[in-house]
């Protein structure tokens, strides 16, 4: 058996669990199906990620170490966290816990993808995403004012990762008090574009009712709808979402 085939077999034997929706996305997009022993429960929900169909092929955990450890993973991925105790605990069970920091820019998102792909023994799996980001960077459109809009007027800080993705799509996120639109602001100073999230738009809440106010709906001609699920983590699925937003704006 050639050495590369042996390495591939060893990689495939690696058992990996993810405890967090954002690392679920990385694992589902970069790992081989046979490597994945568990993903977080959020990934099984069509409301949370577009990858839910793939995720449902894998066992679910509740985001806690305890619910994944019984599946004997060798590598556990999660995001955020203070490190220390959980990593020591994971080591006692023979697993390596990787706590990725929250990325701040699209470049950091892709750098994390390269890191995770290397951990999975599949470095080439992340390369298409690096190419995709490079292509989007090379074709940056002219910036126009455009604000993210979610239920209840929730928007973004101009310093947030989401605002960086918006900039890549050609929109400059304005600064708002508490990162939120009031209806009066939206009536008095509506941005040129509104990038409206459809995250859980079909479910009843005061936030979704807010989006049906006439002062919001009258801005439909300048509103572009975006798949809100991708914005939760602002991870690799955002590359496709940025391309979609560019196309939608061009079509207007």
């Amino acid at each position: 058996m050639p050495a590369s085939a042996l390495a591939q077999a060893a990689d495939a034997a690696l058992r990996v669990a993810s405890l967090n929706l954002c690392t679920d996305e990385l694992l589902l997009l970069l790992g081989q199906p046979q490597q994945i022993v568990s993903v977080s429960h959020l990934s099984h929900s069509p409301y949370e990620t577009a990858l839910w169909r793939v995720a449902r092929g894998h066992r679910v955990n509740d985001g806690k170490l305890e619910s994944a450890i019984a599946l004997r993973p060798q590598l556990i991925l999660t995001m955020g966290g203070a490190g220390g105790a959980r990593q020591t605990l994971a080591r006692r069970f023979g697993a390596r816990l990787i706590e990725l920091p929250y990325p701040n820019t699209p470049a950091e998102v892709v750098a994390q993808a390269l890191q995770v792909a290397a951990l999975l023994g599949r470095p080439s799996a992340a390369l298409p995403y690096r190419r995709q980001l490079a292509q989007l960077e090379a074709t940056r459109p002219q910036l126009e004012e455009g604000a993210f809009l979610g239920g209840g007027g929730l928007s973004l800080s101009p310093q947030a990762l989401g605002a960086s993705w918006l900039a890549l799509a050609g929109f400059r996120q304005p600064a708002l008090p508490n990162g939120r639109f009031s209806l009066e602001t939206l009536a008095a100073k509506p941005p040129k574009w509104l990038i409206r999230s459809d995250y859980r738009a079909q479910q009843t809440s005061r936030g979704t009712a807010w989006l049906k106010h006439p002062l919001v709906t009258r801005l439909a001609p300048r509103t572009l709808t975006t798949d809100g699920r991708a914005w939760t983590c602002g991870g690799l699925p955002m590359l496709a979402e940025v391309a979609r937003l560019r196309a939608r704006r061009s079509a207007r």
Partner: protein, 317 residues
Amino acid sequence: MKRFVPLLLPLPVALCAAALLLPLAPLEGPPDLARLILLELRLPRLLLGLGYGAVLGLTGAALQALFANPLASPDITGASSGAALGAVIGSTFLGLASPLAMGASGATGAALALLLLFAVAGRRPDAATLLLAGLAISLATGALTSLALALAPSPFAFYEAFDWLMGSLVDRSLGQAAAALVPALFASALLARRAAALDRLALGEDVAASMGIKPERLRQEVVLFSAIAVGACVAVCGAVGFVGLIAPVIARRLTRGHPGRALLPAALIGALILVAADLLTRLAPLGRTIPLGVVTASIGTPIFLWVLLGMRGRMTS
């Protein structure tokens, strides 16, 4: 007191003008924008303040007359939080999410809370029994509302518990205002027509019966109309406390203790209190929110204690 009434007349006009015009800054732009903000935002907010406040005052006065107890009010009897529970369960679990359907769910919740109060406390409970039974129902329905929001399909719903339990008039549309106020207006009009009957009920059930009043039927009507009015408003604005207690207390002083005659003055006072409380919430620093219920509770608690102390004084003298 009557000498002061003409002096008080400009007050409603000034409050309504302030509610429409403050803060001034957003209205200083182009005229079409100012019109949009006035019509689509400030007007529904003012209408809801007036209408919901009037409903709280009117139903508070009716419930106080019915229970022969100055502490009965939509919030203390559990009707408001029952309405919030009904509207939350209807909208999040039963798919009744249109404003009118939420109003119907709210009315059902309010009616069930009032019926439960009758079952627990009796028809004319003493102050302590009414307070304890009402408190228990309010706490239970408030906790169940939070639980329903925590288990709602939308993860955002839980963060709206404050809105549901403390109330808010902010960012409601004219459509929502109509959904709350049209049923509330009909129910309130029917309730107001029972003013004379409620005055007679104050003389005792037997005396009232001898004057042609059917106490049981009157009780059912007051519960039904109060539940519809409170339920419709709570479904759109959430539960607001204390207005339904304060307004009738002040109104009865104006009507020399006649509980039935206090209904319409209580509605007017309730409307003014809620509009004034909503104006005070606008003093919050930029980006911060002062919940409406916090303002009404801050105004209402001293009056509540004053009434309670007055009752204790009467009971011990």
